[in-house]
Symmetry: C2
Subunit: 416 residues, 2 copies
Amino acid sequence: MARLVMKFGGTSVANIERIRNVARHVKREIEAGNQVAVVVSAMAGKTNELVAWCRETSSLYDSREYDAIVASGEQVTSGLLAIALQEMGVPARSWQGWQLPIATDEAHGSARILSVNGDEIVKGFARGEVAVIAGFQGIHEATGRIATLGRGGSDTSAVAVAAGIKADRCDIYTDVDGVYTTDPRIVPKARRLDKIAFEEMLEMASLGAKVLQVRSVEMAMVHKVRTFVRSSFTDPDAPELKTAGDPPGTLICDEEEIVESEVVTGIAFARDEAQVSIRHVPDKPGIAANVFVPLADANINVDMIVQNISAEGFTDITFTVPSTDFERAKAALAGVREEIGYGSVEGATDVVKISIIGIGMRSHAGVAARAFKALSERGINIRAISTSEIKISVLIDAAYTELAVRTLHSVYGLDA
Amino acid sequence: MARLVMKFGGTSVANIERIRNVARHVKREIEAGNQVAVVVSAMAGKTNELVAWCRETSSLYDSREYDAIVASGEQVTSGLLAIALQEMGVPARSWQGWQLPIATDEAHGSARILSVNGDEIVKGFARGEVAVIAGFQGIHEATGRIATLGRGGSDTSAVAVAAGIKADRCDIYTDVDGVYTTDPRIVPKARRLDKIAFEEMLEMASLGAKVLQVRSVEMAMVHKVRTFVRSSFTDPDAPELKTAGDPPGTLICDEEEIVESEVVTGIAFARDEAQVSIRHVPDKPGIAANVFVPLADANINVDMIVQNISAEGFTDITFTVPSTDFERAKAALAGVREEIGYGSVEGATDVVKISIIGIGMRSHAGVAARAFKALSERGINIRAISTSEIKISVLIDAAYTELAVRTLHSVYGLDA
């Protein structure tokens, strides 16, 4: 017997027929002898409808009212799934965020979960009951108001519930059947990973692999919640899901659980960055602050930063920003041109950041060198490089995205 | 300054434009210096959509889950109206039933309100804030689950909130502009009543005038909540609504507040009754129980009961039941035919119950006699009669409905 959290997103509960399908997935786990808490999103399209009404009512809507309105979507699906389960003979009841409660901070619209009280869920298990929990929402206890976690927050709800009830595993049912070494649409030879370490998944999620919300991976890492990404579109009663072996999917887990760690686990890429280069900057103390404080003041998130050693008292600084902030970044720098005394600002939006991720590179030398050599052999120019303990990122021309990803995927032996 | 509750139904909040219109009504009352709590229904059609999903999921759905699902409709409109008010510069916040709380019993799907805690609403008034309250819902506190009051329950919510905050008046904004002496579609000369006593309105509502839910009138009577029925389709900023005089509408109030009480206040009629007559019943003690206990066991609501004195040891018993229960009532009686030993059961569904209502008839003799005489002069046969202190009901052939209602309306001087 295991204690499971099962999470289903909006497309998996888009209509009553699909909700019944979800109920069959749950029933399968109950029949296998497991205790189950389910976390559900709103029916696909419902959240957008509710958000549109808020915007139509006021362009500057109160985020506390927005939360009360938008949280209704998950309220509906939690009730419907409970009914569908009961109809199949599986005892179940719905729980809203405020009923458990799931306590959040006061950042309405993008609140963070502070704690999940799992007592009622566990009591329900003792009665043989499935808990169906409305995802994406909680309550700010001091004010007693509903708070939502921001789009995609149901993943985070699921992991937080799993931590709150000390679940053996948190199953994220999604429209893909796991986490791949890279995007299979770009590299047909990409293969599904059986396991990936929390730290690696955090990098993958941050760097463009859209399987899971970054925040949910952070929470899984902090609370060591074994999180399993699997497909919601398989037949719930398929024989292979009822055998003792592992079902198809990717387990995100502690690195200690991964026996044979590869040097490189995956290749991620992000197309939504822009490069900004400041030429001929006087190299004196405080110059970095002069550049980046105005950007921070403009609430622009700076990612890669590269500054070379100077020549003749001048240096060049290159960094990346979200491409949506490109023009605002240039404007912010123009405002401090005299103060800094730089030569010119150049930039490019047709760039892509490609990242090589793997816990194994901690203990392996030469991982970066192999990437640089392989890219160079394909004639791909590297505009900037940044590295961390388990990640190497390079900025290149967007035109070379596919070539670079396929090359690196092959170089590190990831091809199926 | 007055303390007001304003209630708006589903058609009044059917879309964002209409919600803005509601906000203008509220703003007018705020600008007149009043403290305002608003009670709203779900957007027209939304409750039906949610109910349909419940039914599609299971024909025997859990009424606790149904309540969680269906209550989401009012949750949405309460938030949207709060946003619309804020947009107009009127401070406002939404309140769900569980937030105040509005405590109910455990009869999910048709719960009764046990109490309304108005503390938070009144605190909001002190901050200059409008309370926007989701109608139709409350919480069963022992289980912490959402409970709904049954269709049309928002009227009851409004009256209960008015009692909870000791409001000076509860304004029910609806698609008619008040309570009429009878249905204006049948009697063009029907006129709007300025005032009607609680007891009279209770009879009118019970007997087919569909302006207000019966339960809300009961609650208004018990808590002496002055309830004002008025139109939601007038221009919120119409000059006549901003003058000191009474706006158009009907005040339901204590009879002491009605200075000149008419003998008869209104004529109501109900087409949805069926007549059942049992012929040749042995007249012995316990015979009424023998007839009506089986009907009660079958959960059939018996309305008028007429039993004449017996002749030669036998009597006839006539009563009415909802026409939807007609066949079931006959079947229940067939099952006890031998036990009772009656001759035959006859019945008719093409009947109408017409009622003459007025507190004044308490102190006036001959009110009933005038009705019987007037109907007789028009050749209308009376099938059965039942009376109470403030009401005379007659059962007649449905074909004579219009003629009878117009005749009585005229006889009692109600024509405009």
